[in-house]
């Protein structure tokens, strides 16, 4: 019993050391630049994640916030909600993350992960 306790005391710090966050652990991220090319790359990845040909981003500062809202389809003429005056549509929220392999986005509703190709991002 005493041996077991010693073993535990010896190994516990090592195990804890392994759990210390490292550069490889996924962390929220933001774009390094929100230039047109970066935004286009991000939108391409998000469109693929949504299964759509294209998407529009909602209100977001891409270099400051990791949460990225993707807008639902518009209701139509904004002055005339005649066709859908009780719409339950909301933006789909993604989170930009990074790990040792680069950036990716996570759909916050279902936690699905979607790769983003050649996008420069940094830890938030």
């Amino acid at each position: 019993m005493r041996i077991t306790r010693y073993v535990a005391l010896f190994f516990t710090p090592l195990i804890m050391a392994c759990q210390t966050p490292s550069a490889a652990a996924p962390v929220p991220a933001v774009l390094i630049s929100d230039d047109a090319q970066s935004v286009a790359q991000l939108k391409t990845a998000l469109a693929k994640a949504m299964g759509q040909n294209s998407i529009e981003l909602g209100a977001v500062a891409l270099t400051k916030r990791s949460v990225i809202p993707v807008l639902p389809p518009r209701l139509g003429d904004p002055s005339n909600p005649a066709f859908n005056g009780n719409s339950v549509a909301k933006p789909t929220q993604f989170e930009l993350m990074m790990d040792a392999n680069g950036c990716y986005v996570v759909n916050r509703k279902d936690n699905t992960i979607h790769k983003v190709t050649d996008l420069a991002c940094r830890k938030l």
């Binding site: 759509q52 040909n53 294209s54 909602g58 209100a59 977001v60 500062a61 916030r65 949460v67 809202p69 807008l71 389809p73 518009r74 209701l75 139509g76 003429d77 904004p78 002055s79 005339n80 909600p81 005649a82 066709f83 859908n84 005056g85 009780n86 719409s87 339950v88 549509a89 909301k90 933006p91 929220q93």
Partner: protein, 564 residues
């Protein structure tokens, strides 16, 4: 009337689409013009898609999954739609399309148990069959229980949602009389628009202004409706048209030239603080929950109201036909504040009894809309705290044009015992919603949910009505009946609905009704049940003067007040 209404509404879009098609149509690889030649033999008609081997058969009360019939079309589409998304249609038949409608209705329609199950083989085309796929019941007031059942070609559906901004003057007109002697007046104008610009010391189109002539044609009695429509609804920015107008309460006729522009309606049209001996009253004219900008527009307005420490709020929803429920839930929070809303439901969507705890359209778990206290990303960054004025009551100005998400606000606040004092007319009565769904080129609208408040209440299909209205069937709330008053600008303290609200606030009762000689807006009809397909843009333009309607110039709204 409904059909003509949409005709008007879609006119500009269809024209634009047509131009686009013509422009793209010459995309041949040949650079040289084709020589004039003798008539060539007509091309062989395309080979019709093969009929499915096994046509579905009707068995009463037995429903196949709608998925089994989905996108199996009599005329399959190929390629991509106007948004670039690929069609998934395969060869099928109109009978299969009707079976899809039958199963889809059974799976998603709110009152699926009330729909008589009829054999698709006994009906003509898909639209004829769709028309009967709704409850035949009527409400206590004698109205159809389901008066919101319609469809439109998917091309029009996509065109409309991708068409903003629209050309116009930024004036919303109302047709008080649409046949001679016609009467067309201005309801309101957009800020910083041609309609609200000033010429020679006068605003071009102040509220209540009557339009007398357009480009020399007599609007009141003239027969050249094409010129009238072209002038009233310019198809593109930069068109200049000449108007003779007469302002409300004036005998003087003004002549003005106004040039159209691309108009993006401002959801919160104006915010005003009214100082009274008994406190500060905020006034907000909020016209639509439709565009994504409505989130930021309201957030900014309530930041101002909170900073001004208002004691009461008059929310002018008289022309607000609804839109995004989530923004409506944010507005509920911004009025009532954290203490009155914490942990409570703003709106719960109730689907048909077969749906269980899942939305039968999306398959998602049904989650109530709470009162939302932060931005959700439409136009305010996700997580941004919203300001609130923390009031125990709100005055809401209403007409029959107050609809859908606007009514959800009334119901949501009543559900948490915030006092709603309704000033004006009975609201439209639409606690329902739907997910427009395409199949084989037609987009169908069928009622799929009802919106309930914290108390589980959602029975307001005959609208909310001020308690003195004498309405037999509407849901009664505190407040006063009053007529929309075109003689004064919205937000002016003398305007009838606002002055009635202020009177009630001071005295705790409604003012004694006066005989009203002021110009007022017409009552609106807001129901829609006809099929909206197969309309032509030109007839739509003519019919603009065939039915009374309310419209934003350049937006071609419904011939009646746009429903929900």
């Amino acid at each position: 009337m409904v059909r003509s209404h949409l005709q008007s509404f879609t006119l500009a879009l269809m024209c634009c689409s047509a131009i686009g098609l013509v422009a793209c149509g010459g995309g041949s690889s040949s650079a040289a013009p084709a020589p004039i030649a003798a008539a060539a033999p007509p091309p062989a008609p395309p080979t019709p898609p093969p009929a499915p081997a096994n046509a579905p058969s009707f068995s009463p009360g037995v429903f196949e999954a709608a998925d089994e019939f989905e996108a199996m079309c009599e005329t399959p589409r190929s390629g991509v739609d106007s948004e670039g998304n690929a069609f998934t249609d395969v060869a099928g038949s109109e009978l299969i399309e009707k079976f899809w409608l039958r199963s889809w209705t059974n799976e998603t329609y709110l009152w699926n148990f009330e729909v008589p199950d009829q054999d698709p083989n006994d009906f003509g085309d898909r639209l004829e069959y769709f028309e009967i796929l709704r409850t035949p019941d009527i409400t206590p007031s004698g109205e159809d229980k389901d008066d919101f059942h319609f469809s439109e070609p998917t091309t029009e559906f996509l065109d409309r949602r991708n068409s903003a901004p629209r050309s116009g003057y930024g004036a919303r007109f109302t047709f008080i009389r649409s046949s001679p002697p016609r009467e067309v007046r201005v309801l309101y104008t957009e800020p910083n628009s041609p309609a609200s610009a000033v010429q020679n010391g006068n605003v071009n189109f102040p509220r209540g202004t009557e339009i007398l002539t357009i480009d020399g044609v007599d609007l009141v009695n003239g027969s050249d409706v094409n010129t009238l429509n072209d002038g009233l609804f310019p198809r593109q920015a930069g068109e200049t048209h000449s108007f003779q107008v007469r302002d409300a309460g004036s005998t003087q006729i003004r002549t003005i030239d106004v040039t159209s522009a691309d108009i993006t309606p401002e959801p919160v049209n104006r915010v005003k603080i009214i100082d009274t001996p008994t406190g500060r009253v905020g006034y907000v004219l909020f016209n639509t929950f439709g565009p994504f900008s409505s989130e930021a527009s309201l957030a900014n307005a309530f930041t101002q109201l909170a900073q001004e420490n208002v004691d009461d709020l008059v929310l002018d929803l008289r022309y607000n036909g609804g839109g995004l429920l989530a923004v409506s839930a944010q507005l509920g929070y911004m009025i009532a504040g954290a203490n009155q809303t914490r942990g409570l439901t703003y709106s719960l969507q109730e689907y048909n009894p077969d749906a269980g705890n899942r939305n039968p359209v999306t398959g998602n778990i049904i989650e109530p809309f709470p009162f939302i206290d932060e931005g959700i990303g439409f136009s305010v960054a996700e997580g941004t705290p919203l300001a609130s004025v923390d009031l125990p009551r709100v005055f809401i100005l209403s007409t029959e044009g107050t609809c859908s998400a606007s009514e959800a606000l009334i119901n949501g606040l009543l559900g948490i015992d915030v006092e709603v004092i309704l000033i004006g007319d009975t609201t439209c009565g639409k606690p329902y919603g739907f997910f427009p769904t395409d199949n084989c080129g037609e987009t169908y609208y069928t009622i799929q949910f009802r919106s309930l408040n914290e108390k589980g209440f959602g029975d307001y299909s005959d609208g909310f009505s001020p308690q003195d209205s004498g309405s037999q069937f509407a849901e009664m709330t505190a407040g006063c009946s009053a007529q929309d008053d075109l003689s004064q600008e919205l937000g002016e303290e003398g305007e009838t609905l606002l002055s009635t609200a202020l009177y009630y606030r001071e005295n705790g009762q409604c003012p004694t009704p006066l005989s009203n000689s002021k110009p007022s807006a017409p009552a609106y009809s807001t129901k829609r049940s006809a099929s909206l397909s197969g309309v032509s843009p030109q007839s739509g333009a003519i019919n603009t003067f065939g039915d009374p309607f309310v419209t934003t110039a350049g937006s071609y709204l419904d011939a009646t007040m746009p429903e929900k």
